[in-house]
Symmetry: C2
Subunit: 221 residues, 2 copies
């Protein structure tokens, strides 16, 4: 009886589609970021504000991953940006195949960058390559400053960390040591860019926009 290595076969199927996505994006010289965070860190609010503020400068398309509902895709579409909703029906992360199919439905010629908003989950999406150009991680200050130490995988793999909801730091309502988070994240990942932001008010967002623009230009080289 033949021994079947199930682990590598499953990984293989995801990796095949991840490779297709890598090739497609490389051919098109298009930036595609995979945005990962816990539920409720503010991924969609960051995207809505980014798309609105950069209107006329940077055309962003979004792939929205959720267990259920298309609430987030509706919020993106309200900005006029194209958004493809993927419902994972309970699965805890997007697969490369789902992203491959969504890329085929986006108007890629009319876009400067694509952002994949992954399922809200700080653990599993970090382990599944989608063929993206790079990962970015979002952490809300309300989640606490021990998260890079407790969930190191995604911080080690991300190009950038957006520390969101910094408005909550005022009035000391939330205890959060930003310097600790910066030090812990950089211990895991020397080159990670860190942007403290408040997507609701716009505070700190310009630094993120500058970085995003530079990433798009780099993809075009």
């Amino acid at each position: 009886m033949e021994k079947v290595n199930v682990g590598s076969r499953i990984l293989g199927a995801n990796e095949q589609y991840a490779m297709k996505n890598i090739e497609l994006l490389a051919q098109r010289k298009q930036l595609c970021l995979n945005m990962i965070s816990s539920p409720g860190s503010g991924k969609t609010t960051i995207l809505v504000r980014t798309i609105s503020d950069l209107k006329g400068q940077l055309r962003i398309g979004v792939i929205e991953g959720d267990l259920q509902t298309d609430i987030d895709a509706q919020r993106i579409r309200a900005t006029q940006a194209p958004a493809i909703q993927i419902n994972t029906e309970g699965a805890c992360h997007l697969s490369a195949r789902q992203v491959y199919e969504a890329l085929g439905r986006l108007p890629l010629d009319a876009l400067d960058a694509i952002v994949i908003e992954n399922v809200g989950n700080l653990v599993c999406p970090a382990a599944f390559e989608l063929g993206e150009t790079g990962k970015i991680v979002v952490l809300s200050v309300a989640e606490g400053d021990d998260k890079p130490v407790k969930y190191p995988g995604i911080f080690a793999k991300s190009r950038a960390l957006l520390v969101n909801k910094i408005d909550l730091l005022r009035g000391a309502l939330v205890e959060f040591d930003l310097d600790r988070v910066k030090a812990d994240a950089r211990r895991l990942n020397k080159s990670i860019e860190i942007f403290p932001v408040c997507a609701k008010s716009g505070e700190g967002m310009q630094n993120w926009y500058d970085w995003l623009g530079a990433q798009v230009r780099q993809s075009r080289l």
Copy 2:
């Protein structure tokens, strides 16, 4: 060649240990709650306050699940309560076997209740039975009021929902419609008990303590 159903075999191994846990807890008439939430909702802070406030009334032991570190178990042990740390080394949820082994290391005769603090993840832990008496879900108001709709699984399965960090609702720093969350959670789960709390200040915690005490008494019947 024999066809091997891998899905059910994997589930089977977890379920075997879940059954052992169910039997052990039933024989001992002991309450064991499986606490599930996103990272940073305040699970450990809720437990630390609960253990401290109920000292002399209710003896609680804790099984701590984390990808890495024993930060949370240390916080629990500072209250003098026994805590067993499980490091999942990247896995996104606790398994019934890990809980079975941890139960064997807790001083069960000296405890009125056991709480399993699962890995911070609103998706995967909901799908893995540990043989616990019941699940409880924690949602921080900073995560937003759309979470029951977007992550229905865990809200449908939980006996109680603790809505934490309600101090952030004052001053309108956080937009969060508590009535919407209550309605959405009850649409998924008619019998779910809902406790708005602030574990940091103690606000609302007495209702949760009363419910917890009643659950312990019910287990002893």
